[in-house]
Symmetry: C2
Subunit: 271 residues, 2 copies
Amino acid sequence: MNRETLVKNIKAKNSFLCIGLDTDINRIPAHLHKEKDPVFAFNKQIVDATIDYCIAYKPNLAFYEALGPKGLESLAKTMEYIPEEVFTIADAKRGDIGNTAALYAKTFYETYAFDSVTVAPYMGKDSVTPFLEYKDRWVILLALTSNSGSQDFQNLVLKETGDEVYKMVIKKSMTWADAKQLMYVVGATQASKLKEIRAIAPDHFLLIPGVGAQGGNLQQVVANGINSDCGLIVNSSRGIIYAGNDKDFAKAAKQAASKLQQEMRTYLDKI
Amino acid sequence: MNRETLVKNIKAKNSFLCIGLDTDINRIPAHLHKEKDPVFAFNKQIVDATIDYCIAYKPNLAFYEALGPKGLESLAKTMEYIPEEVFTIADAKRGDIGNTAALYAKTFYETYAFDSVTVAPYMGKDSVTPFLEYKDRWVILLALTSNSGSQDFQNLVLKETGDEVYKMVIKKSMTWADAKQLMYVVGATQASKLKEIRAIAPDHFLLIPGVGAQGGNLQQVVANGINSDCGLIVNSSRGIIYAGNDKDFAKAAKQAASKLQQEMRTYLDKI
């Protein structure tokens, strides 16, 4: 999906909500365990219930991989089910040398037909550029994450430039691709630093996880991060997909997604 | 596998060779494509031919994932086939927030029964510690990698301590686990920096990729990195598994592995 279509979708749906399909076989409602593929059955109902309120879905690969090969079957079926006009994010956080990165790009862009992949920056340019060879597919590079461990290395200050490591990741990677192919992960728990990131990267989309279960605040994120194209994709996983845990789980997910979308509409009305 | 067994295996086999099972469906000999599972058929013959000369196998997950769910079936069969007394490394370079990291640990240690996983440090402590909760399983943390992109972030100097980022990764992570559970990835192309790393982490095992196809030199690696327990696991992938490309490929792989093992024996004789 190209940037124009993504922005058009955000405006059409009055939403910049991404729903994280962190589908845990141990947390899905009991009645679904009778299905042949309980994970896919769950995802299908979540997609049906929420698609009017979100512009992206983000399966977290760990949840599928933990189930072995059959977990990847559930992922493949889920990806086939999600309509092409919805942006898809493989939350995989890959990062490896060039020939291996090229295979990961093939995996996510070709085998599973994702629009984008989250990528870890530690191994540098040649671990990222193979993903950029696909037209209208995106790299979402980890910059400043939402977890406590983000303090360990991302926030260390560099001698030469005085930048924190995460700022150097943004600055350097901006020379590898433009805002039509590159986004950054910035945790919602880091809202105060969003303003500084926007100063460095005014045009790039930012994928913001951590709203909800991890404690991030949507209003603060918007105040510091929105731009004229919206420029934000805000993810909620557990707060939506586990809003209910019985036969009405999809209805509960719909209500949770709708509530976030209504809040988002008020912010989008102002840009 | 615990450290004592790993060291015992190295001494018994006179080898610290790891063979990278970077099995590319497009590079395996044509006659294997008639098999039901060509990737597993290839791996099985490689293991049979090389097991006397190596102490570890390292499947690179990207090669299996690129084939979709059936690639993971080939991986599962390969892992079942490798005898328990050989150390196994999931070269997966994962790194995510705590609850996701816990699922990746489950995937590699339980679903596929690996002894160890390569982990990326960018997201910090809580992205690593869930892997350390498994007794006698290992984290192999990326420190200084073999690719050109290692210059982009790993080698930047920090203001507060004057350390390069990769040294801070080693120093900080040494407070999370000891040398019985934690190893580091140090590219063979970085042999000159191995001595500095050994000064910081005298006891830790180092996983050294990049010998062979990537240009690293074994003699230099040993000169700068060996310790009294050996402390090195040196990986070769393409140089061994693609030493031949016809019906005799396993024989060619055996010869390539044997040649490296013979060189390794001369180094081990001196410690």
